[in-house]
Symmetry: C2
Subunit: 224 residues, 2 copies
């Protein structure tokens, strides 16, 4: 997931910090829904089993500092995080590939709270075009350029098999997409004006494995 020029964002904040921030946002919404106005770094840390110092450090990258003894005003913190992530308004996205993974992403409820608004789904398989998946009608690839351009869609999500990924990326780029979220293992060739984020589910598996290995070799619990 981090293998495409990951050093770029490190100028803004360390990647583990950026990766943790959506979970902070989730906790803030929960806390707010429970009727709270204030939250402390310790509260957040407890809910996520992190160290408070880690939470404070992460928060500092979003440009907010808490008040002694009170913590953060939840609404300010939400605004600050959403500004940091550029999630002040939802980014429209299209998804290409409506197989198992594409369908799963179409149904992923968290996206709508987190700045992503999937406006259309495309597939080149004639058997899938016209079908409705999770309330969304699957469109043909031929309809992609016009829709992306008309709706000013910024993000393309690629969930096609590896061998089809480059072709899809080319279509998305020609259509004017600014960012590609690539779930295929293919390393895409794109112009430098397009941001590519590669998602590799095996990354999480690697972290799990190393944690389990560490627990075994240390006789520790591998979580601390």
């Amino acid at each position: 997931m981090d293998d495409e020029k990951s050093y770029s964002v490190d100028k803004i904040a360390p990647q583990p910090t950026i990766r943790r921030i959506p979970s902070y946002l989730r906790i803030l919404y929960e806390y707010q829904a429970e009727g709270n106005q204030w939250i402390s770094a310790t509260d957040i840390a407890e809910r996520l089993s992190l160290k408070p110092i880690q939470v404070r450090k992460d928060m500092s990258f979003t440009g907010i500092t808490g008040k002694p003894k009170k913590g953060f005003l939840i609404q300010d913190l939400i605004t600050s995080i959403r500004n940091f992530l550029g999630w002040t308004r939802a980014s429209d996205a299209v998804i290409v590939g409506t197989g198992a993974l594409g369908s799963a992403l179409l149904g992923y409820k968290s996206f709508s709270h987190q700045g992503l608004n999937i406006v259309a789904a495309f597939d080149k398989d004639p058997d899938r075009v016209g079908k409705t998946i999770r309330g969304m009608k699957v469109l043909s690839m031929e309809e992609l350029p016009e829709l992306v351009s008309r709706m000013h869609v910024r993000i393309g999500i690629i969930t096609v098999p590896s061998e089809a990924a480059q072709e899809v990326a080319d279509v998305l780029v020609s259509a004017g997409i600014e960012g590609i979220w690539n779930f295929s293992p293919t390393k895409l060739k794109t112009p430098s004006s397009v941001v590519v984020q590669k998602e590799d589910l095996c990354s999480g598996l690697a972290v799990l494995s190393v944690k389990m290995g560490a627990r075994h070799s240390n006789g520790e619990d591998g979580r601390d």
Copy 2:
């Protein structure tokens, strides 16, 4: 994805390093399949659009050092990486929840190359039990404890809705699972002997958003 005591693995290697390693392994298999015996950090870096120094640094955590002018013997590097990740033999896993995401993971081909062997799928929905998804028969939750214990399954993958995740985690823990890969947004309560890796798809989205924002505000391409 990194929000569960992520500082623990940092003693072994930085998390971004661990997260990049599966993509290295993929490149190594590709290179080997093309008939090569040696690979340089520069070769790997080029295929993944990383800096060679980053690749060398990452590799050093796996305990291998290249030969000047020749690079790494591919087979040695594969062995070294697999040892580092504990992927010397595949870990057996069960998956609980056969909705869209569970089905997608059942069909994720990369897992078999990467140390994960999904041996069974479970669901509590009677409409799903007995059906075959991607060649695997869905079993009822009642069958889980006996199967996990008999097959010494080490990893449980949770792809159930948020509200059911804790109950599933409890069943997995009682059955003797050592590691949980949690795809639900729920923060699980588990004994300290069980390693939990939380997977949050919004983490990758956050990195994409920050990269796109950086490109805009700097007038740069956001990838360098």
